[in-house]
């Protein structure tokens, strides 16, 4: 192929990915408002379009149309770079996320490892936003965000390692293929619990929304942000929710199983993902926020030992089964 056709093709794919991300985020924001509303005996948005479906689009337009305010005294470049950096892992991960048997932009052997590694970048972005805002609450929020992401990433990754041991691969497509007989949510129930809990903490969703914690530190790292920079944080939060739920669906709920067909596979995969997202929103509208010390205790004293035990037991069982089979 001529180089410019290749370039255009790549750009087109990028545009499609960005559109998908934006639409997903808008749908998720609408869904959260609806689910949360109904769980509080309210109705949520209902005026624009059927069941208020256009509401978030208008909200996004409003946010994008706002004046771009950069307060005096902020660390200018850090302040500007933070909302851009939060989108980098979000956008990158979509390239490695398989939607069905052959629907994946880039199929590498260590896609799970890569995704888990790249997800950690958002901690830097929170820290930059917190530091760059030059505001005590922002700084607290940023530091909390960094602490939270570092402590919960470990149990999350270790819980995912249980699945890797069972599947014998770090490729997400291979992991899904290995779940033809049984979804890993059954043998890895503890791992599923740990992974899902830790990933909720990873994306700062309530009850783990320490970095934002409205009632304690106003809005944490995004106090000083407004307009489209705030929108970037907001959208990234919801896209990350999609990503972790998709990852949980791939690792533990069999991804696109039982369908090999790309269309049905994608549909069933999205159904599973949205079911998990609904569960996350359900949790979000049920539980109050942890206190920061309880939260750290829970991460280091409960989830980490539990995930290590889970990994160890899985490893022993896999070893024994492999020996018995004579592999």
């Amino acid at each position: 192929m001529v180089w410019w056709i290749e370039l255009l093709w790549a750009l087109l794919k990028l545009v499609i990915a960005v559109m998908f991300i934006f639409i997903t985020a808008l749908i998720l924001i609408w869904m959260l408002r609806k689910v949360m509303g109904h769980m509080q005996y309210r109705r949520g948005p209902r005026h624009h379009g059927p069941h208020g479906i256009w509401q978030t689009i208008f909200d996004a337009i409003k946010l994008l149309g706002k004046e771009d305010i950069i307060p005096n005294g902020v660390d200018r470049w850090t302040f500007i770079a933070a909302p851009i950096i939060i989108f980098v892992p979000t956008l990158t991960i979509f390239a490695f996320l398989p939607f069905a048997e052959k629907i994946v932009a880039t199929n590498i052997e260590i896609s799970l490892f890569f995704i888990l590694a790249v997800m950690g970048i958002s901690a830097i972005s929170l820290l930059m936003a917190g530091w760059g805002s030059n505001n005590k609450y922002s700084l607290l929020g940023g530091l909390r965000g960094a602490a939270q992401m570092m402590s919960y990433e470990i149990p999350m990754v270790i819980a995912a390692m249980g699945v890797v041991l069972m599947a014998g691969s770090m490729n997400l497509t291979e992991i899904v293929r290995a779940q033809t007989k049984i979804w890993y949510a059954v043998p890895q129930a503890v791992g599923f619990f740990i992974f899902f809990t830790a990933s909720l903490a990873e994306i700062n969703s309530t009850p783990f929304d320490m970095p934002e914690a409205e009632s304690e530190i106003v809005a944490g790292f995004n106090i000083e942000y407004s307009g489209f920079r705030f929108a970037a944080f907001f959208l990234a939060e919801f896209v990350n929710l999609f990503i972790v739920c998709a990852l949980a669906a791939l690792l533990f709920l069999g991804g696109w199983q039982p369908f090999e067909n790309p269309v049905y596979g994608t549909i069933i995969f999205l159904v599973k993902t949205y079911a998990l997202i609904f569960f996350a929103m359900w949790v979000r509208s049920t539980f109050p926020r942890f206190r920061i010390d309880q939260f750290m205790d829970f991460g280091w004293k409960v989830l980490l030992p539990l995930s290590l035990a889970n990994l160890f037991i899985t490893a022993v069982i896999v070893l024994v089964v492999d020996r018995l089979r004579g592999v």
Partner: protein, 149 residues
């Protein structure tokens, strides 16, 4: 059991999710207010044209009003009010004026939604007070024009 409270909480919110919302879509839907609910008062009339009010302009309501929001002046030589105004910016809807009126000239209505752009908009004259309908859903034809002013 460990986590029983968490499950209980999840159950509660799920039940709420499948229950009908309790919010009322105001102003499309209105909550019916109780029959004893207090709203604007209405001056009763015995004749429309020329207007004859049941009120004699005695001023008992004005002197009993705890908020001093009613002002009455009697017409010279007639048992009719010359001026009868209620300042709803002050009124606390206590109903005392209705209870003390010896001529049964005042009536309770259920009109409780009224807005104004200035404080003067809340001062209602006797003609406006006579227009108030007894029930909130029972709009008279003249009323929308009256509000448009």
């Amino acid at each position: 059991m460990l986590g029983a409270g968490l499950v209980q909480g999840l159950k509660t919110t799920l039940r709420a999710f499948f229950t009908k919302p309790v919010t009322i879509l105001w102003p499309y839907q209105k909550v019916p207010i109780a029959s004893q609910g207090q709203g604007l008062i209405r001056l009763r009339m015995t004749q429309l044209d020329p207007p004859v009010y049941k009120c004699t302009g005695c001023g008992i309501c004005a002197s009993n009003c705890p908020q001093r929001c009613i002002s009455v002046e009697k017409k010279g030589g007639e048992k009719q009010p010359e001026i009868y105004t209620v300042n709803y910016g002050l009124c606390m809807f206590c109903r005392i004026c209705i209870d003390v009126c010896p001529f049964d000239a005042l009536q309770q209505t259920q009109e409780h939604e009224f807005i104004g752009e200035s404080r003067d908009d809340f001062i209602r004259r006797k003609e406006e007070l006579a227009m108030n309908s007894v029930f909130a859903d029972e709009k008279t034809a003249a009323e929308p024009e009256e509000n448009a002013k």
